[in-house]
């Protein structure tokens, strides 16, 4: 490793050998599929570039903090930026990442589902190559609930009925004061036909936001709520379901293999269904997650970086990431690949939700907006739907001006 870095140090400034070292900043992927993709692509480039993985912290906000501080300081030792889907507007507007144009853009756009493309687009330009996506499903106990509920209201009624019978009845969600809670709220607002922002700086909260707030408040104040709801993140929700305390869980697909290896007894009765709807007649629009890869504006090897990203986000690598790493792909055709069907029996549900996607508000001040939403709606059982919309509106407005405390 040292030898490579030393060699690249010489090669970087001059043109000796012409091999570019590409520093790739990405979250710590535990299965090693990102590292394998980086090694394969370096090899396939025939000596044109060598990708060196730099691991970011595991928490999403810590990842962003490190990237932002490097990019704001114009750090040229970062070439490929592994971005959470909700950072695109912020990074693009600040001029930290380069747009994808022409043949480069066409190559990484081809065959990608509309949801992931939408997350990587800012002001009509593509700023990242969708590497993987993610969407939450409804997980439920087949032994307790014969037919999965279609709507939030049905699910709440089912849970209350189970509570009366003294059976496991919690609905596991993410209600802690953090980004995951914003995902819940945003999914509900989108599913109700509304949106949080109608432009980068226009707050558009209306009746749909009020419905979203009521759904959260009704659940949080009912018997269906886990007593820890206001502290629960994805992993606490997973654990509670695995402990057998819950009848329902809203979570990402990682919970499925986890239940199979941790508690086969629960895994046997673990069913999956589409994310609950707000209106019975309208499919839910679930806020999608995932990673887009961007080229840093301060990279000294942009051409090689574009090529390396296109390689790492290609079909074979997305398949490995999905099968080995459990990260849902962004390429539509991969969902029909038999290799994916085995670990992902619910792959068609995921594909459909990536087509009927919802995304978080697109604004360079997204982290401010997120902070305002988290704080205003915390704790979930403290929400008064009637006043929530007006206080949210004023909080988000002040978040967008960046002149007030949050």
């Amino acid at each position: 490793m040292l030898a490579i870095v030393g060699l690249a140090g010489c090669g970087g400034s001059g043109a000796s050998g012409g091999r570019a070292t590409l520093n790739y900043y990405i979250f710590p992927e535990p299965s090693g599929s990102f590292a394998k993709a980086a090694a394969d692509c370096s090899k396939a480039s025939g000596g044109r570039y060598q990708i060196v993985i730099n691991t970011l912290p595991s928490a999403s906000d810590a990842q962003r903090q490190q990237l932002v501080r490097r990019l704001a300081a114009k750090d040229s030792s970062i070439d490929i930026v592994g971005m959470d889907v909700n950072w695109t507007a912020e990074f693009a507007e600040a001029g930290w990442i380069r747009p994808w144009t022409g043949a480069n853009a066409a190559a990484v756009r081809r065959g990608v589902l509309p949801g992931p493309i939408a997350t990587a687009t800012w002001k009509g330009k593509l700023f990242g190559a969708p590497l993987n996506s993610n969407t939450q499903l409804l997980w439920y106990r087949k032994d307790l609930v014969p037919n999965p509920p279609k709507t939030w209201n049905e699910m709440l009624q089912d849970a209350i009925k189970l509570a009366k019978q003294g059976k496991p009845h919690y609905i596991e969600e993410q209600g802690a004061q953090y980004e995951g809670y914003v995902v819940w709220f945003n999914s509900l607002v989108d599913s109700a036909g509304g949106q949080i922002l109608s432009g980068p700086s226009t707050v558009a909260l209306g009746p749909s936001a009020k419905r979203a707030a009521s759904i959260i408040a009704d659940l949080a104040k009912s018997k269906a709520a886990d007593p820890s709801l206001s502290n629960d993140q994805e992993d606490q929700a997973r654990l509670a379901f695995e402990q057998g305390k819950a009848a329902f869980e809203i979570n990402y697909p990682f919970v499925y293999p986890s239940a199979q290896s941790d508690v086969p007894k629960i895994a046997k009765v673990m069913g999956y269904a589409p994310y609950p709807r707000v209106d019975a007649g309208k499919p839910a629009r679930v806020t999608i997650g995932g990673i887009n890869l961007a080229v840093s504006s301060y990279s000294t090897h942009p051409a090689a970086a574009y090529a390396a990203i296109a390689c790492m986000a290609n079909r074979p690598h997305q398949l490995t990431d999905a099968v080995k790493g459990g990260l849902p792909p962004t390429l539509g055709s991969l969902f029909d690949d038999p290799a994916l069907a085995k670990p992902y029996p619910f792959h068609q549900l995921i594909k459909q939700q990536l087509i009927d996607y919802g995304i978080r508000p697109k604004t360079p001040a997204y982290s401010d907006v997120s902070l305002a939403i988290q704080k205003t709606l915390s704790p979930p059982d403290g929400i008064t739907p009637a006043s929530a919309v007006s206080s949210l509106t004023s909080q988000i407005k002040s978040a967008l001006t960046s002149g007030e405390l949050l």
């Binding site: 906000d61 903090q65 932002v68 501080r69 704001a72 912020e90 507007e93 600040a94 802690a176 004061q177 953090y178 007593p227 820890s228 709801l229 206001s230 502290n231 606490q236 654990l239 509670a240 402990q243 360079p364 001040a365 982290s367 401010d368 902070l371 915390s378 704790p379 960046s402 002149g403 007030e404 405390l405 949050l406």
Partner: protein
């Protein structure tokens, strides 16, 4: 030094030369330390103050401009700032008060330990030696509703950390557990200053243990108590790690340091965040001044007597 007889004038001249060169040497010797201090403390403080007078956001570098005291206006007129000051004061007053009582008991125990004195002192200091983040994590897991031993022991059906009061109690216990040894160590230093003869004399005069503690030990320890309280109060007022690990300021436990962190590191709003930092600095300076003015005067006579 030898005192060889020499003409007075010469001697004085020689001495001043020596003093001058010694002073020069002294200045040269401390210069690196001064330069280092300026680089690592003065520069960031001044830079934070300069930033606090600007609209400065890492994401909008082109929109940076000088705006005078506007950031201070926004902070001081925000109800969030004042409620966070209140949260911080609650944690500070509660932890320092409990630590003073427990720390004094611990100090007395360490002072009076008859056997294995060194071992007793070392064991008592272990919590303080643990990294705050690690200690906070172990306490948070202890309070966790599903798996923690505290809710299990108390037979709680609900999640104690899902309520404001529960969160405060958990944070305060964690802080007290962690820093009581520090308080005890400072108080132990004060206890060592109390001469045994005074106690013996008082005992001969028929003073009870309680009377001796209040009339002899406490007055003589006043300077040590002042230092211990001052250090811990300043420390407690800047509390960040424990609260951040427990719930990052949810359930109404957000402190001023977390407020500053949110502005600086989440929002990248350097102007507002620096204004918050400077205001925390001012509050800390006020606390220190109050302690030294208020208690310092009271402590002086005790100091003179010894």
């Amino acid at each position: 030094m030898s005192t060889v007889a020499a003409p007075a004038g010469q001697a004085r001249k020689g001495m001043t030369d020596r003093t001058r060169s010694e002073r020069k040497l002294g200045l040269m010797l401390i210069a690196p330390a001064v330069v280092l201090m300026i680089a690592v403390t003065a520069y960031p403080i001044i830079y934070a103050f300069v930033l606090s007078l600007q609209r400065s956001d890492l994401r909008f570098p082109n929109a940076s401009k000088f705006i005078g005291l506007d950031n201070y206006g926004s902070v001081l007129s925000s109800s969030l700032w004042w409620s966070d000051v209140f949260h911080t004061l609650v944690i500070t007053v509660a932890t320092v008060a409990i630590e003073l009582v427990l720390g004094m008991l611990l100090a007395l125990a360490m002072h009076r330990a008859i056997f294995a004195r060194g071992a007793v002192r070392a064991i008592a200091l272990i919590p303080y030696g643990i990294v705050t983040v690690v200690a906070a994590f172990s306490w948070r897991y202890a309070w966790e509703a599903d798996s923690g031993w505290i809710p299990h022991l108390l037979g709680l059906k609900t999640d104690p950390l899902a309520s404001t009061s529960g969160s405060y109690i958990a944070v305060i216990i964690s802080e007290v557990w962690k820093t009581t040894p520090f308080m005890a160590l400072l108080l132990l230093g004060g206890l060592a200053l109390v001469p045994d003869e005074l106690h013996e004399a008082a005992r001969v005069d028929g003073a009870t243990t309680w009377q001796r503690f209040w009339k002899i030990t406490i007055p003589l320890m006043k300077p040590a108590i002042l230092v211990a309280l001052l250090f811990r109060t300043l420390d407690a007022f800047r509390v960040f790690d424990t609260v951040y690990i427990f719930n990052a300021g949810a359930h109404g436990t957000e402190t001023v340091s977390i407020l500053g962190y949110n502005q600086l590191l989440n929002r990248l709003n350097l102007g507002l965040g620096s204004a918050v930092s400077v205001l925390i600095f001012v509050l800390v300076a006020i606390i220190a001044a109050v302690f030294i003015k208020g208690f310092g005067a009271a402590a002086a006579p005790g100091g003179k007597k010894t």
